[in-house]
Symmetry: C2
């Protein structure tokens, strides 16, 4: 089968054997999305060799449990052992020996087929089209914030950065009724938020030490610095992005102000599908372009350009 292969920071479109794992579902990919993590992996953020890609919607071809066959599905990306301390304590996304679809020791979804344990699969409701369902994984990641902290309707919430993931974070934060403002870099990001009535704010207008919750979604030290200054004493700073390299931080004011900093990664799929089914969020506005798998190298070039949000690859 055709697949986008990453090796030594080089991507190539290759012909590789179709995966065979009798204890997992074989899934024919229908559509897959390019995420910032994919672009970071290509840059060498984390050493990975194999098929890239982890956001997808597909159809089950074979499965240990035949009831899955023919189902249109999305899949959680962490394949877990079910036996380690993290798994046994209800933190499967932190499984100590996990493989991660297209990220850690598990071939991903920019390919004709992939495999996943059936435990990872979620049926997609018929009313949710592929171009929505393919956003389930990043939408779940946005919802992880809501799993971790309480966001009150009266909270002043600042979102720093509204790129691929930030736009979905903005849409889910807005559902809480909180007083949300987003700091964006590009006009098109602002325009997208405006279509949903989400306010943006200029950096100069961000009142320092006034925001109950700040979500940092830029992954840049500049974004972190803006977030730090905006958060109020006893406020919560959610780190929704990983950072290339190290941050140098003066922790004493964070201690004096009793700030909480919380890292946030993968989230729950079922509620994300529920939001899509009820059209409470609309990720399709993020689609910048669609490519066929044969053009996936071009798709990656496109996705890496500034100002591009979601690039989809369909099979």
């Amino acid at each position: 089968m055709k697949a986008l292969w990453l090796e030594n920071n080089q991507t190539s479109l290759r012909e590789i054997p179709q995966p065979e794992k009798t204890n997992e579902a074989l899934i024919k990919i229908r559509s897959a999305g390019i995420c910032s993590t994919d672009l970071e992996l290509v840059k060498g953020y984390y050493p990975y060799t194999g098929v890239l890609g982890h956001e997808f919607v597909g159809e089950v071809v074979t499965a240990p449990d035949a009831s899955w066959i023919g189902q249109r599905v999305v899949g959680e990306i962490n394949a877990t052992c079910g036996k380690c301390e993290a798994c046994l304590n209800g933190r499967p996304t932190h499984c100590e020996v996990r493989t991660v679809l297209g990220i850690v020791n598990r071939d991903g979804v920019f390919a004709e087929y992939t495999t996943l344990p059936v435990e990872n699969l979620h049926r997609v409701p018929d009313s949710v089209p592929d171009e929505m369902a393919v956003f389930t994984e990043p939408l779940a990641a946005a919802l992880e914030i809501h799993q971790q902290i309480q966001i009150k309707p009266t909270d002043r919430v600042l979102l720093v950065g509204a790129g691929r993931l930030g736009q979905l974070v903005a849409q889910t934060l807005a559902l809480t009724g909180c007083d949300l403002h987003a700091l964006v870099r590009h006009t098109y990001q602002k325009d997208l938020l405006a279509t949903r009535g989400i306010k943006t704010i200029a950096e100069a207008d961000i009142q320092p030490r006034r925001w109950d919750i700040v979500v940092e979604a830029t992954g840049s030290p500049v974004g972190f610095d803006i977030a730090r200054k905006a958060i109020r004493p006893r406020g919560t700073l959610v780190m929704k992005s990983t950072y290339a390299g190290e941050l140098t931080v003066n922790f004493s004011p964070l201690v004096v102000d009793e700030i909480t900093i919380i890292g946030s990664r993968c989230g729950p799929f079922a509620p994300a599908l529920g939001l899509l089914e009820r059209r409470e969020v609309d990720p399709t506005v993020l689609i910048s372009a669609q490519y066929k798998l044969g053009e996936c190298l071009k798709a990656f070039e496109h996705a890496a350009q500034s100002g591009v949000l979601k690039v989809l690859i369909s099979m």
Copy 2:
């Protein structure tokens, strides 16, 4: 009156006028404790000019409300406005225009007298002697951890550092029934903990990524690094110390592991007095030496020596 004055990082024993604030209680100091923050202020950690000291027990001499006169009291160190956003939202210790006893724009307690608003005062139960009551402020700071996060009896908790504040943190953490281990530098710290049945652990024996909660109480980058490595995914790292200078931190693993970092400062006085009254904690084991106010410069020299815990100054 005699007072320990700090100016341009120089301490001196001075004769200064007795304070006069008709809207505050005048308190005759009975005993006061030297805290690491005092030593840091002398080193120039934060610019401050005035009488040093914020841990005390004293007797009210005059007060706007006469019912306080003659009472033996301890006092909360943050004097607040009651009108700012922080005050009105139940975060008075973060009052935006606060003065802080012996730390920010308010003369402290290494003196014959000090003043505080009566709202800051707490009566000391008769059964709590001065040498216990003088620890109310740092004991309250230890309890702030319990105000901020839930510590379950089944939690594995690592305390990094058991100096002046760390010893009190150890005693209050132990009350939760959690599986507590402390990493200490000095034998005498270990011995003190052993008298209360609190276990210590060698650095080499600290399992990485295994501790539900880690309390960092060293204020050193080395301590922070140990804490970082010990905390489990989705664990909580409590920062109980301020840091001179900046820390350089690789945040990506903190995001991937969804770690929570929380700064912790001043805590609640009433429960601290309750613990002292019921003898659930015993801070008096920390007393390394007692000096008279006239010898307070010598007391500071003593307190700054390695291996010294609490040095008290009595009036």
